[in-house]
Structure formats: C-alpha cells, structure tokens
Amino acid sequence: MQRHCKKIFGGAALVAALVAAACEEHGHDGDHDHDHENEVISRVELTFTPTAGGAPLVFAFDDPDGDGGASGTADRVELAAGVEYTLAVRFQNSLVQPPEDLTGEIEAEAEDHMVFVVGDVAGPGSSAPTTLVTHAYADVESDYGANAVGEDLPVGLVNTITGNAAGTGELRVILRHLPEVNGQPQKTGELAADLAAGRDLPGSVDADVSFVLAVS
C-alpha cells in the first residue's frame, strides 16, 4: 500500500509542478504594455507646403481616445485657389507617450500601402463632379526602398495638390493596407482607377478620415 501511496503523491507533485510551470510561463511580469505591440493610428496629419515657398499649413484629424467611445475631431482644411502645394501625409499613434510616428513603418512597407485622396477632388482616385482641388501622386515605392515586387507604384505619402476654384466641400484621405495574400501582391496599378469607378478594393482600411475643405 505504501508503495502505491508514494506513486500517487509523486503523481500529485507532478500535476502541481505542471500547473506551477504553466502559470510561470504565461504569467505577466507586471509591466502592462511590455510585450504588447500595436500600431494604432489615432492622428492623421496633413502638411500642405506651397511649392512656390511659404509657411506650411498643418491640418489634423485627432481621436485622442482611440477606439474609445468619444468622437474624434478634424480640422477645417483651408487652401488658396491657384496655389500648388506639396501635401505630406503623416500617421501617428498619439495614445502613447511620447506619440509614435507610424509613417516610417508605412514607408518601409511602401509596396503594401497606398494613400488615396478623394472627396471634391480631381485626381486618379476620384471622379467627383465638383473639384475644388486637383490631386497628383508625387512619390513612388522606390523612393522609400528597393521596389521588389511588380511595378513602381505611387504610395501617396507625398502628393501635389493644386487649389482650383473657391468653394467648400470635402477632402477625404484613406490609407489602405494591402499585404500580399498567399505570396500574391494585392497592390496593383489599377487601384486608384477602381476607387474612382466605385469598384471595391482589396486589403483593409488603416485610416479613413474626412475634413471640411475650404478653398478661397
């Protein structure tokens, strides 16, 4: 009998050890965000720099509680008619301190990302009837690194915007994440035209923010 009891207690000890090991392995270390990795975009910043020179104009969409219940807010984008601007788009996570700039990560994966500028805009991604501004891409994937896959397509982190007619409308900036599916690229040269024609795009939306656009 004694021999069997030894076996049993040996077994119980093994169970206890397994549980202890399991808890150790999966326990937390007290540092809450230690191993957590994310790249929430809570702020989209548009910098319009007149190509002829002048002070840059900065407008932002900001949602300081991220996906919390409070609504985000967008600045009113005020541009001048007949002026050409270089538009730089930046994406930030302002939920962490200090705020983290995610634009570099998008640049590093330029072949998997594309920014679309739509609304009351004339440009590759838009077929709007009223066109307060004209948009053109001013960058390509090879500006940010080697173009490994397919054509050297635009990315949209740098753009040219020209103020056309005075008026008030909408400016919408969309960042699509287009990672490869089963080794096949989802980003193709037709995406902007597809968007303009109202066709569905592959991939997913990383950012989709709308601003009131006033051209005077």
Partner: protein, 826 residues
C-alpha cells in the same frame, strides 16, 4: 456515396454468409427449447440491482433479437430458449452498455451482468429509491449525447458536436471551428459550460471567443435547455452544457479508447487516445492519461476557399483517483492548445468596406485565396490549463460530503494583420480562476411513499483578468464570488418535485487605465458612487447580491405507461452583468462598431417557465417542449446616437463608426422544440426528426431581438442493417436540415438583412463490431452533399462569405477493456 457503398460492402462482407434467411415472423421456439435464463443486472462496484435495464438477446434458433427489461431489483427471466450460445447486450441510462456471451444449457442458466456507472459513485443513503439518474435538473428539458451518437461527433468543436440537438443552434464567429453553442437563443454570457462539475472560465463574451473546451474528454454531453441557476449559478440563466468524462474504472482493468478521424472539408484529421489503468494490486486506485491532436486546412465553400481558416489543436490530460465505498478522491490536470486562423475575407476595417462586403456575393480578392494548412495573421492562439482536486466522503447514514477545488488559467492571444515590424499579439488576455465547492448530500428521508433527497452546497471563486493592448477594450479586474444553495427532491413512484434556491454574491474591482477612465467618465458611463480616481486611472468597486429559485415537477401521469413523462419547471433567475457589459470601451471585436458598457447596469432577472411532454418507449421517442421567459432589465446591445462631427456616428481614424451601448431593456423569450425518433417495430427502418422555434422581443419597442436563430427543422430516414454475430448497430442514413429565413429581426441593429432560407442534404453510415472486450466503431458522414451555397443568420461569416461546401468525415475508434482481477466473468 461511393464511400458509403464501401462501408456497406464492408458491412455485408463481415456478415455471416451462412446465416439462415430471415423468417418474416418471430418463429415459435422449437420443440425441446426449454432453457430458462435468469439474470441480474447490477451496478459494478456497488452491486445494486439496476431496474428497467433494456436487454437484447440473440438466442440460438431465433432470427430476431428478443427484447427484455429488468424488474425493480434488476432481475430478468426469459423462458423457452434453445441450448447453445446466446449473445446479450444490456443497456441502462447512465451506465456503459454490457455485452456477454451466455452458454445456455440444462433447465436454468443464471448470469450476473455488471454495468459500469457513467456517473461518480454515490452512497446508497443519498439516492432516491429506484431513481438512478444523476441528472442535476431532472425536471428541466435536457438532451444528451453519448455512446455511438457522441462518437460520430468526435473531432469536432463543442458547438458543432451539439448542433444536432433540438433547440441548440451555433453562433459561428469565423470559419474553422470558432463557434459557440446557442441554447434557445441564449449564448456566451448566458450559458454555462460545466466540465466534470467544474465551471469553464474563459473569455466567453466575445462573439469570436469559442469556449476553450475539449469535447473529446466527455463520455456524455448533456444540454440543459433552460435555466439551471439554482445548481450552477447566475450564468446558467439561458442553459447549461454538461460534459462528463467517464469515471475512472472501479474494477482492476486496463481500458482504452483510441480513435482517428479524417475529414475532407476542411481537409485534415486527428487522433485521440485515452488509457485508464486500475491496478489489481492497489484496489480502488486508477490513473488516466489522455490526449488528442488535430490539424486541418482552410475550409472550402462551394466556389472558393476561406483563406486562412486552418487550425491546429492539441489536448493532454491526466488524472489519478481512488474510489471506495466510503471515500473517493482524485486529482487531475488538463491543457488545451489551439491555434486558429481567421478568414482573410473577414477584415473589418471601416464601415464602408463592411457595407461593400455585405453587398458582394463573393469576397474581394477571392481568386487569391488558398485552402492551405498555413495559419497566418489574423489568428488566435490559446492555452487553457485546468487543475483540479476532488473528494467524496461518505458520512454513513448522514449522507455524503463532496469537495472540489479547481484552478483554471486561460491565456488568449489575438493577432491582427499588421505591418511586418510588429511581431507580437495585438490583444492579450490572461484569466485566472480559483474555485472551490463543498456540497452535502443529505441522507434520504422516507416520508411514507415519498423519498426526500437533496443537496446543500456552498461555492467560492476568485478570478483575475489581465488585458493588454494599446487600445482600450475591457479593464483589468478581480472579483470574488460566493453562493449557497439548496436543492431538494421529493420522489414518488409517479411524481417527483424539485425545489431549489440559491443566494449569491459577487464583488468586482475593475482597474481602468487613464485614457479608459477619463473617456468613460466624460461619457457619463461610470457610477460616481462606485468609481473613484486612483493613480493615473480609476477604480470601480461594486458588489452584487442576487437570489434565484426553481420549482419543478416530473409526473408520470399513467401508471401503466411509465414511459410517458411530463416535466414542468418555473424559475426566477438573476444574472450579474459581465465585465464587458459594465466596462467595454472600444471597437467591439468582430464588428465595425464601438461598444460601450455602463458600470451602472444592475442585475438581469428572468421569470420563466417551461414544460415538456415525453414518451420514451421501446421503439418510439417523442418529446415536445415549450418555454417562455420575461426578462426584466435584459442587457441588450443597442445603437446609441452621437453628437459629434460625424452626425449620429463617432469619428474614428478608420471612418465614422456607429456606437452600440449595453442597455437594460425588458425582453421576452419564448419558443418550443419537437423531436422524435421512431424505429419501426420488426422493420429495419427508422425516421427521426426535430424542429425548434425561438421568439425574442424587446418589449419596450416591440421589435424582435437581433441574432436569434431562425426556425430550424431536421429530418432523417434510416435503414438498419440486421445485426450479425460480429457486427451491430449498422445503419445508413439520409438527412436534411432546413433553416428558414429569419423574418423577425430589428431593422436598425443589424448591418444586413438575414440571409435566405436554405436546405442541406446529409448522409451517414456506421457500424460497430463488438466482442466482450473490444468495440470497434466505424462511421462515415457526409455534409452539404449537394454543395449548396448558403449563409447562416447566426454566423459572423454571413457578412463576408459563404459557409462550407460538401465534405466527408470518416471515423474509426476502438474501445477495449481488459479486466485485471482474477474473478471470472459470468
């Protein structure tokens, strides 16, 4: 169909070629056949006679089997048998079936048949006379899966295994098995899953959080359709799923179950093994080692694969026990590991994309989808650990005492599709639960013709949850809960009454981080009397106290037809709001909406009743059940208008999202189920069917509630092959499942109208080969054989893609049982 023919041929080739042609009528015993067979059917271990055992005898000289039943002492006598070898199969509910060969000779042959109980041992002092069912709620509607029926579900997830039961639907998160059972329209927070008496504790609030339970551990799965709150606590307001593993062997033996399963859609398979060893030299002790593993590729719909829906799962467990008349104890440990991909089609990024995907009949980019084994982001990785210790102490004439302690750790990591520089998970949850229960089963009191049996119990549990993400969703919390309950059953030969009451308390402390706390405070969702600023964030502390009660009856109205029963139950149950209902603050998993909770929510109370009529005869089972409940302050997820720049919606960096808030409404749930199983007497045909209906209304608006399963019908026709000396229970089946379109849905809550009605064709064939020591089970099941494209109202996938196309499942299992004691089996 070709594979079914193979099964049929296999079956026929194993039949006895020289068997005499079957006679149309039961032949009269030949002259000189005058052997009487006297048998006693007893429970192994306790030696108690088992009443109403069904015996099937394959006697020499008879073409059809003889049916017999034992009397109240477990005895049976059959006269007029011919000498020779007779095969006997004995079956009693809650016990493993027994098979033996009897050599009939002389004038009387005696046998003793021992059947192993499939429930833990109980003292004779606490059991009502002749009531051997250990079902905790005998007065409520329940349905069980065991034996060959359960074997046919091996290798499937819990929800899929239960989906054949009437009144049980499946809430499917994504493809690849991430689904949860839905009992009479209730899901997740309102259902409890109990594994061997231990409440399963996981992140059950999310729509894509499948219960981390391995159905392979169970030897019987019972669904209690309706509130089981007095025995199991507040969460059991909608229903209970009980998984009971086979008790460790009580007789020295080596017992094993080894099974394999292969399926064609998703392509994959798995294997499982369980070995029990009860050594002869240490009577009473037994050890079990079990494990299983499975892996499958992505699911394929009739027209495209659901990319990245592969999964890999393994489970392992061990337990050690000692059983005797006076004392039992056991310790055990189980671990589950599951990695499952989430369909590439299911990217919920912006409301506009979501609307577009709903409008399409095929996911965009489906031409790039592949059905491969690789599991990429988005995916879930889960560990679930369970360790337990239990004891039963007989207190002689005073009754018996049970104690149970368990620890569970649920470790869930969710990985989203992100930029390559990010390696870790985006959401991490760690839920640790300690639980203890002590219950006292008092000795039977004999009150004239009535027996009174009952259980008084107390439970305590402590739970902590840690959530890690850069987004807010739910706060970390710790909670302690306790309960006391008493369930008493008055048992008469034809009437059983059950009275139950429970009182429970819960104290929850939630720690909200700065952004979460300030955001919720600004939104007016935090109760200032229970929440206070603390450090950078805030702490909310709140206690809840609730009471539940049930009153039920089981009546056998006709003395001459004890097969006919009427069960009815009235109950009032209370459920304490879960953590997400109180504090959710973020994008709800799986939907492009923002979900917000309210710390001000109170207890949800239901007042309900149900009634079931059942006839369970030798060749016919018919059951009709109806249920209705009024739920006061039913916690419902309703859209909430916003006042920001985005009009009624909330502006986010991914576009304007609708906000849904957990809000108390008054609700009504009602419905019914019908099921029957007919096996034509003396004919090899059978017909089985079931139907279920659920209606649920928001009584304030009069609108139907969302995500309530549509009306569902199932019909199966079977042909039973005649048993032979080596094979039995051979059948071939054709079935159809018809699911109506859900016409009752709220206009403003859902994103798309319910999908159209659909009908699916299925088929199955199976056979068992048995001997005294071994049982081989072979089955082949075909699903959606017409390769119908369909979408289901209670599936998240319906917004994005079709459900699975046709598939075949082939299962083979071997059970063997080798006694190690010297006692010869008679």
């Amino acid at each position: 169909m070709a594979a079914e023919l193979v099964a049929l041929l296999l079956h026929l080739s194993l039949s006895e070629p020289a068997a005499p042609p079957p006679a149309p009528e039961q032949p009269a015993p030949a002259a000189g056949c005058a052997v009487a067979w006297v048998a006693t059917v007893v429970e192994s271990g306790t030696g108690e006679g088992l009443a109403d055992a069904r015996l099937e005898l394959r006697a020499p000289g008879r073409s059809a089997p003889i049916q017999a039943r034992t009397d109240e002492q477990g005895r049976v006598r059959v006269d007029g048998l011919c000498a020779g070898e007779m095969q006997v199969v004995a079956e009693v509910p809650e016990h493993a079936p027994g098979r033996l060969k009897v050599a009939l000779s002389g004038s009387t042959t005696s046998s003793r048949i021992e059947l192993e109980a499939l429930h833990p041992r109980h003292s004779g002092h606490v059991i009502a006379v002749n009531v051997h069912t250990e079902r905790p709620t005998g007065v409520s509607t329940s349905q069980s899966l065991a034996g060959a029926e359960l074997a046919r579900t091996r290798g499937q997830g819990l929800a899929d295994a239960l989906s054949g039961m009437s009144g049980v639907a499946t809430l499917r998160g994504t493809a690849g098995g991430m689904s949860k059972p839905m009992i009479r329209g209730h899901v997740g927070r309102r259902n409890l899953i109990v594994v061997d008496g231990i409440r399963h504790e996981g992140q059950d609030w999310g729509i894509d959080h499948a219960p981390e339970v391995d159905p392979n551990v169970a030897d019987r799965i019972t669904v209690v359709k309706g509130a089981g709150t007095t025995r199991f606590g507040a969460k059991a307001i909608g229903g209970v799923v009980l998984l009971d593993s086979r008790p460790l062997p009580q007789r020295p033996s080596v017992r094993s179950e080894i099974g394999t399963v292969g399926y064609s859609n998703p392509l994959g398979g798995g294997g499982s093994a369980r070995i029990d060893w009860a050594p002869a030299r240490a009577r009473g002790f037994a050890i079990r080692v079990e494990g299983n593993a499975s892996r499958h590729r992505a699911v394929v719909t009739p027209t495209y694969p659901l990319d990245n829906t592969g999964a890999a799962t393994w489970n392992a467990g061990t337990q050690l026990g000692y059983a005797s008349d006076a004392v039992d104890f056991g310790v055990g440990y189980r671990v589950m590991r599951a990695v499952g991909g989430i369909c590439t089609c299911l990217r919920i990024s912006s409301p506009e994309d979501f609307d577009k995907s709903i409008a399409r009949s095929r996911p965009i980019g489906a031409e790039l989808y592949r059905a491969d084994f690789e599991i990429e982001r988005a995916k879930q990785e889960i560990w679930h650990h369970l360790a337990f210790a239990r004891a039963r102490v007989g207190l002689g004439r005073a009754g018996e005492l049970h104690a149970l302690y368990s620890f569970q750790f649920n470790d869930r990591k969710e990985y989203d599709v992100v930029r390559k520089s990010v390696e870790g998970p985006q959401l991490t949850f760690g839920l640790a639960t300690h639980a203890a229960e002590v219950r006292y089963e008092h000795a039977r009191l004999q009150l004239g013709q009535w027996s009174l049996v009952g259980t008084v119990g107390a439970t305590f549990s402590h739970q902590t949850n840690r959530f890690t993400s850069s987004s807010t969703l739910i706060p970390d919390y710790r909670q302690a809960s306790w309960a006391v309950y008493d369930i008493e059953r008055f048992v008469h030969e034809r009437v059983e009454l059950e009275l139950g009451a429970r009182y429970e308390g819960l104290h929850r402390t939630a720690d909200l981080r700065e952004r979460d706390f300030l955001g919720q405070q600004a939104g007016g969702r935090l109760d200032p009397t229970t929440c206070r600023a603390s450090g950078d964030g805030g702490t909310c502390e709140r206690g809840f106290h609730t009471a539940s009660a049930t009153l039920g009856a089981l009546v056998r109205p006709f003395g001459r037809a004890p097969e006919f029963t009427w069960r009815t139950q009235l109950n009032s149950s209370a459920r304490i709001p879960s953590i997400d209902e109180q504090f959710m603050n973020g994008a709800a998993p799986s939907f492009p909406i923002l979900g917000v909770g309210s710390s001000k929510l109170g207890v949800e109370r239901s007042w309900g009743g149900e009634s079931t009529l059942q006839y369970d005869g030798d060749w016919l089972l018919v059951e009709a059940a109806g249920h209705a409940a009024y739920i006061d302050d039913y916690i419902y997820f309703v859209p909430q208008r916003q006042n920001g720049q985005c009009g009624f919606l909330s502006c986010t960096a991914r576009g304007p999202l609708p906000v849904f808030a957990f809000t108390p409404v008054d609700a009504f749930f009602g419905g019914g189920e019908l099921r029957f199983d007919l096996r034509a007497p003396r004919l090899p045909f059978g017909l089985a069917g079931s139907a279920s209906w659920v209606r649920a209304l928001d009584l304030q608006t009069g609108a139907p509630l969302a995500f309530i399963p549509a009306d569902r019908y199932w019909l199966a026709g079977r042909y039973y092959f005649p048993d032979t000396r080596v094979s039995g229970r051979g059948y071939i089946e054709v079935n159809t499942t018809i699911v109506a379109r859900q016409r009752r849905f709220p206009e403003d809550v859902d994103f798309s109208p319910p999908p159209p009605a659909y009908a699916l064709l299925g088929a199955g064939a199976g056979v068992e080969f048995m001997s005294e020591r071994r049982l081989f089970r072979l089955s082949l099941i075909g699903t959606n054989l017409t390769n119908t494209r369909y979408r289901d109202y209670t599936s998240l996938l319906r917004y994005f893609a079709d459900e699975a196309g046709w598939g075949l499942q082939l299962r083979f299992a071997v059970d063997f049982d080798v006694p190690l004691d010297e006692r010869p089996r008679r």
